[in-house]
């Protein structure tokens, strides 16, 4: 599980000198990183170091935050995602996001998953849509649990189920990249374990970036790890290397529990 990939995978996302300001305050001081395909990349670091901020840059969710300004360049498959003629809506369909707290829409389970395909016009018919919903739920490992109550509200599920529903919802749009911001921090240990397993499975088909405050989790699920500190990317590399053999003193301190 913890084994690093043997073949170096192709790069999906590249970031160069990304800076973010919230009003006068600078939250990121020039982040450059390459994120590989078909792998899980974990961002770790103490609270407030800018992990979420950087994650939000990747699907331009920062656009929705008032006063946030993004500098530098991020490319998805070689295309600048901050290019003026790029349609954000399209980008977000390609780069899905799962949040810290499970946030299903207050609609039925079916509608939760069907929403994305509907607005993006992905299904030509009702049967098409059904098919997308079922396969997404199945991929998220939720189908068996909810197949009898697809019309009940998604908010009625347990925390872990809700989070998987959110993952299914993100998958349904057929994204290439899935961003997860502390997806397990609101869950109990058992639900966490289920999600972690799911992430490991999804890796086969998606590029996954996950933010976590738990080094243990990073060690468990990721192949690559990036350590952030005070708005800087301190160190990045194969997860195994970072955890067993950090180069940087700060990384070391953090991993040993001396800071944070």
């Amino acid at each position: 599980m913890n084994a690093a990939e043997l073949v170096e995978p192709s790069i999906r996302l590249t970031a160069r000198d990304v800076t973010v300001h919230y009003g006068a305050k600078q939250a990121l001081h020039g982040i450059s990183i390459d994120i590989p395909d078909h792998a899980v990349t974990a961002f770790i670091g103490p609270s407030g170091c800018g992990k979420s901020t950087f994650l939000r840059c990747i699907n331009r969710m920062n656009d929705t935050i008032e006063g946030a300004r993004v500098g530098g360049r991020i490319e998805l498959d070689g295309q600048d995602i901050y290019a003026p003629d790029l349609d954000v809506v399209e980008l977000r369909a390609r780069v899905g996001m799962v949040f810290q707290k499970p946030n299903p829409f207050p609609k039925s389970i079916y509608d939760n998953v069907a929403y994305g395909p509907r607005i993006h016009g992905l299904a030509r018919s009702k049967a098409d849509l059904d098919e997308i919903v079922v396969s997404s739920l199945r991929k998220a490992g939720l189908f068996e649990e909810v197949k009898d109550r697809l019309n009940e509200p998604g908010t009625g599920l347990s925390g872990g189920q809700q989070q998987r529903l959110c993952i299914a919802r993100a998958i349904a749009v057929g994204p290439e990249v899935i961003l997860m911001d502390e997806p397990c921090s609101a869950l109990d240990p058992i639900a966490t374990a289920v999600i972690e397993e799911l992430i490991d499975e999804l890796r086969e088909n998606y590029t996954i970036v996950i933010v976590t405050h738990s080094m243990q989790q990073a060690a468990r699920v990721s192949q690559k790890t990036a350590f952030f500190h005070l708005g800087n990317l301190i160190e990045q590399g194969d997860t195994e290397d970072i955890f067993t053999n950090p180069v940087n003193k700060q990384t070391q301190d953090y991993i040993m529990g001396r800071i944070g």
Partner: protein, 451 residues
Amino acid sequence: MTSTSLGQAAARRERVRAGLARRHAGERLFRAFGVVAIVLALGFVALLFTDVLRKGIPAFTQSNIRLEITFDPELLKVDPAPVREAGQSDADYRAQSLAWQRQVAMLNWNNVIEAGLRQAAPAGYEIDARQILTITETDARHRVREIFVADPGLLGETVTVDLLASANTDNWIKGNINRELGDAQQQLSAPARALIDLFVENGTISQGFAWSLFTNVDSRSAPASAGLLGALMGSLWMMLIVIVLAVPIGVGSAIYLEEFAPRSRLTDLIEVNINNLAAVPSIVFGLLGAAVFINWFRLPLSAPLAGGLVLTLMTLPTIIIATRAALKGVSPALRQAALGMGASKTQMVFHHVLPVTFPSILTATIIGVAQALGETAPLLLIGMNAFVAAVPATPVEQATALPVQIYLWQANENRNFFEPRTSAAILVLLALMIFLNAIAIFLRSRLEKRV
């Protein structure tokens, strides 16, 4: 740890304990103030309601007179009603029957009623024609005539007719006017009063539910038959206009300001402006309505359309502010979820945010509309205090409104009769109001349960 610090701790504890009694007394006092405030507020609600109920309830019953009316051909010298002949054109027939109706209207129907009254009275009761007719309401002759017009075959027949007793009769029976007062201070003559008492005894006059209050329009010539139907309809029309206009505009405006508008001087200005509009005295809206809708757009005076527009403008800020508050309350998680799915901002708002806030918007709307329903002052300035004796079939026909009707009735010169009637009208308005508020509260509680 030393013994001195232990001693200090003990001393401190003593100090704290010493002050406790006083502090708890203060606590109780403060609490008592709170209870007093609640009791005062509730007490006033109770006082207001019992007072209005006490005054208004009697007006829900009314004195009715049951008379045997004979359509005596001696008294009613009238041509036979026109019968439609074969080949007669519509217009011809209508003209003919109108002419006949006019002829019927010119008859002195009071004679017929007088005969009926005398028949109900003990034989040979001494009272002159003028006095005996004060017992029934002045519109009795129209009622009787309508019966005849509807069925001209009744000529020569006797039918039992229920008529309204006059307002003064009602006052006398209910004791609204001091029964001890002398003749000079009574509205009815002594023989009439005695006869009424006789009628009450022999059952000719009985108390019944005052249906006239709900089925009749306002009346000045026949106070006892004055009703609220016209005013109710006027109010309903205005509410309809307010709902149709204020809700979409208000919600749209709130959505723009809360979701789309960039923070700028202009939006700040709009915000200040809306908050200010919410507090602008209603009478100023009346001035605006008079100047803009009546004088400029030349909308018909005292029509529910103009009233509805003024009330719309008044309600708008309420709805905008409440909707904005509701939109603000939507969790950012939901917004992010939608945006993260690749929904555009518009889609996010219309697919997710708005449905979630729907109940609060509905509540705000109901409350706003209820407020508009009770508003009087601006309507006075756009002429809605007109006397209208018809039910408005469209919003451009003249009408009055419930609160305005209350205002008009409280000024009616027949104080003894209209004071209870005003209270009754108030009860009707309050019932409507509480009904609307109850819906709002119900929705709110449903909403709270869902969240």
